[in-house]
């Protein structure tokens, strides 16, 4: 028993420890530590901008994605949903840099500024919303018809069926979409700098332009850490939100 627990702990901790060691080594090797300390106030400003970019676009992507994905599964929306799905599928294949560039080029056409944090947020939002829409739709569609028939036959209203049955059962699939979306947003956020959106991309691109590894690493390493942090937070949320009965792991089979 104890060796098994130790092994599990080892399995979880090892990658974390190795990554931290690698990052510390990278930091000191390129002198990024010194650069960060010297520009501490700018560092915090960039981190703050980065978090704003990720959290706000994430918030809207989840809100709009889940809502849209859910509406698409309603009976009256069958035709519209196939159209939306087609758009979403095409949209998802546009690369990150492309989305940023599109925001820069397209927003002025409809009379908005293509530069600054707002266009960056819009670009991130559009890039991340697709997998959430897709997974929400797929997750709800995959709920067994028997379960819905039982719920309806027992006298649940449509709203109760949706909130007490369909959405909770679809949650693992929806959560998968959210994780994909987070990965996309965290990965794309540094590019926001290119259209004046701020964030840690500033140091990364500056470092590249000046061929100064210390600046580049001082930006790149926090970006990686933020990505890991968000992934960890999401897995925690999943553990709290997803009911045990529909989790794919941890299911004890009847003996």
């Amino acid at each position: 028993m104890i060796p098994r627990i130790l092994f599990q702990l080892f399995k979880v901790l090892l990658p974390v420890v190795l990554t931290v060691l690698f990052i510390v080594w990278l930091y000191s090797y390129y002198g990024a530590w010194g650069y960060t300390v010297k520009n501490l106030s700018e560092f915090f400003k960039l981190i703050g901008e980065h978090f704003i970019l990720v959290i706000i676009s994430m918030f809207w992507a989840i809100l709009v994605g889940v809502t849209l994905g859910t509406i698409m599964t309603r009976k009256s929306m069958e035709k519209a949903s196939s159209v939306i799905m087609a758009v979403v599928n095409v949209w998802q294949s546009v690369p990150s840099l492309g989305v940023i560039a599109l925001a820069y080029g397209f927003l002025p056409v409809i009379g908005l500024s293509g530069i600054g944090m707002v266009p960056a947020l819009i670009a991130l939002f559009f890039h991340a919303v697709a997998p959430i829409v897709r997974n929400t739709h797929a997750g709800i569609e995959s709920v067994s018809k028997d379960v819905i028939e039982a719920a309806t036959g027992m006298g649940m209203t449509k709203r109760q069926v949706l909130f007490q049955v369909e959405l909770p059962i679809a949650l693992p699939v929806i959560a998968g979409g959210v994780r994909t979306a987070t990965a996309i947003i965290v990965g794309t956020a540094p590019l926001a700098f290119l259209i004046g959106g701020g964030g840690l991309g500033f140091w990364i691109f500056t470092g590249i332009a000046l061929v100064d590894m210390s600046i580049m690493v001082a930006g790149a390493v926090p970006v990686a850490l933020i990505a890991m942090l968000f992934d960890y937070c999401l897995s925690l949320c999943e553990r709290f939100l997803i009911p045990r009965g529909v989790r794919t792991d941890e299911i004890k089979m009847a003996s």
């Binding site: 067994s144 028997d146 379960v147 819905i148 028939e149 039982a150 719920a151 309806t152 036959g153 027992m154 006298g155 649940m156 209203t157 109760q160 007490q164 049955v165 909770p168 059962i169 949650l171 009911p243 045990r244 009965g245 529909v246 299911i251 004890k252 089979m253 009847a254």
Partner: protein
């Protein structure tokens, strides 16, 4: 006991090609506490007929009356909450524990928590699952048979006077199926619900129903007790559907107790051998049934088996398996008679007290009516 459920010329026409009548002027009345099995070949409209009762499928014309109230005038949601609903694939909610699944309707009906908890506890006991063990488990962790029991418990949770069951045991293997059927009949004896039970299996229909409603192409062919359907099938279709062995099927409808003779040749085992010998010659029997002081079965005494050494009946008694509980079906009884060489079967009650004995002639008499 008044009429609980009444269908009056209920018709369902699906719009589209040919205006086919899925259910055509179906009428029947069910008394409180009766099980009506709706049976027929696939596509006969039996599921449609059932689902019109809780308005999962709206009916085109006719009237459905539950306990004196016209279903079409009731609020759909409230109507459904007052009708238990069990489907073939159970449809337990995987995101909820067993306890939460059963508590669904009570919660929708806004019962207070202690009352809900007590109900869940009681229902789990009724369906023979240990509440402490199962309450916190999830549907995935249960076997198919266990899940279906929860399905039944869940449907009964809101104390509905009426239950609709759509092939509830259809997806369960034959052995567990028979077990669940018997168990359900026992539960029904306690709860006395009015039940509409859809099945495609005529044997199940006959076993479970107080009334059998036989449908063909949406039309009612015969609505009668299982006994009536088997003895007097209305036409060739019914006769065909119940099968050529319908007389044998009737064996399931009777208990051994009903067919047996109540004059078995019993002998107390503390009697002497002479008494036994006298009995043998007096009643011209091959065997006597040995009992103890309380009248409980101890074994069988054979005329040919009495050796010189024995002084008392208990020395000559031989253990036997040729006995059945009086509540078993005649079919089992007949099978047991043929299994043993005695030519009869000893009928006992739950405490193994001898009630009577059963011969093939008794079965014949019973089937004649």
């Amino acid at each position: 006991m008044g009429t609980m459920l009444s269908l009056q010329k209920v018709t369902k026409i699906y719009p589209g090609a040919g205006h086919i009548k899925a259910v055509d002027e179906l009428s029947f009345d069910l008394e409180e506490g009766e099980i009506c099995t709706v049976v027929g070949p696939s596509g006969c409209g039996k599921s449609t007929a059932m689902k019109m009762i809780n308005r999962l499928i709206p009916y085109t014309s006719g009237k459905i009356i539950i306990d004196g109230r016209d279903v079409s005038r009731l609020n759909t949601i409230e109507l459904r909450r007052s009708i238990g609903y069990v489907i073939q694939n159970i449809g337990l909610f995987p995101n909820m524990t067993i306890g939460e699944n059963i508590a669904i309707i009570p919660k929708l009906l806004k019962w207070d928590k202690p009352k809900i908890d007590e109900k869940v506890q009681r229902l789990l006991e009724i369906v023979n699952l240990d509440p402490n063990e199962f309450r916190e488990r999830y549907p995935k962790e249960l076997s198919g048979g266990q899940q279906q029991r929860i399905g039944v418990a869940r449907a009964m949770a809101g104390d509905p006077p009426i239950m609709l069951m759509d092939e509830p045991f259809g997806a369960i293997d034959p052995i567990n199926r028979a077990h669940l059927q018997n168990e359900f009949l026992k539960v029904q004896e306690k709860v006395k619900k009015t039940i509409v039970f859809v099945t495609h299996d005529i044997d199940e229909a006959i076993k479970m129903g107080n009334k059998v409603c036989l449908l063909k192409d949406g039309k009612l062919v015969q609505f009668a007790s299982p006994e009536e359907i088997l003895t007097h099938p209305k036409n060739d279709f019914v006769a065909d559907f119940v099968g050529g062995d319908r007389t044998l099927k009737r064996l399931n409808l009777f208990t051994i107790k009903r067919a047996m003779k109540k004059d078995p040749p019993v002998i107390r085992q503390d009697e002497t051998i002479e008494t036994a010998m006298n009995m043998f010659s007096k009643i011209d029997a091959e065997y006597l049934i040995g009992v103890d002081g309380e009248g409980s079965l101890t074994g069988i005494v054979s005329k040919h088996n009495i050796s010189g050494g024995a002084t008392h009946v208990k020395d000559a008694v031989v253990q036997t398996n040729a006995w059945l509980n009086g509540n078993a079906s005649l079919k089992d009884g007949l099978s047991e008679i043929f299994t043993h060489d005695y030519g009869f079967l000893i009928v006992v009650d739950d405490t193994r007290k001898v009630l009577g004995w059963l011969h093939t002639e008794d079965i014949k008499e019973t089937l004649k009516g």
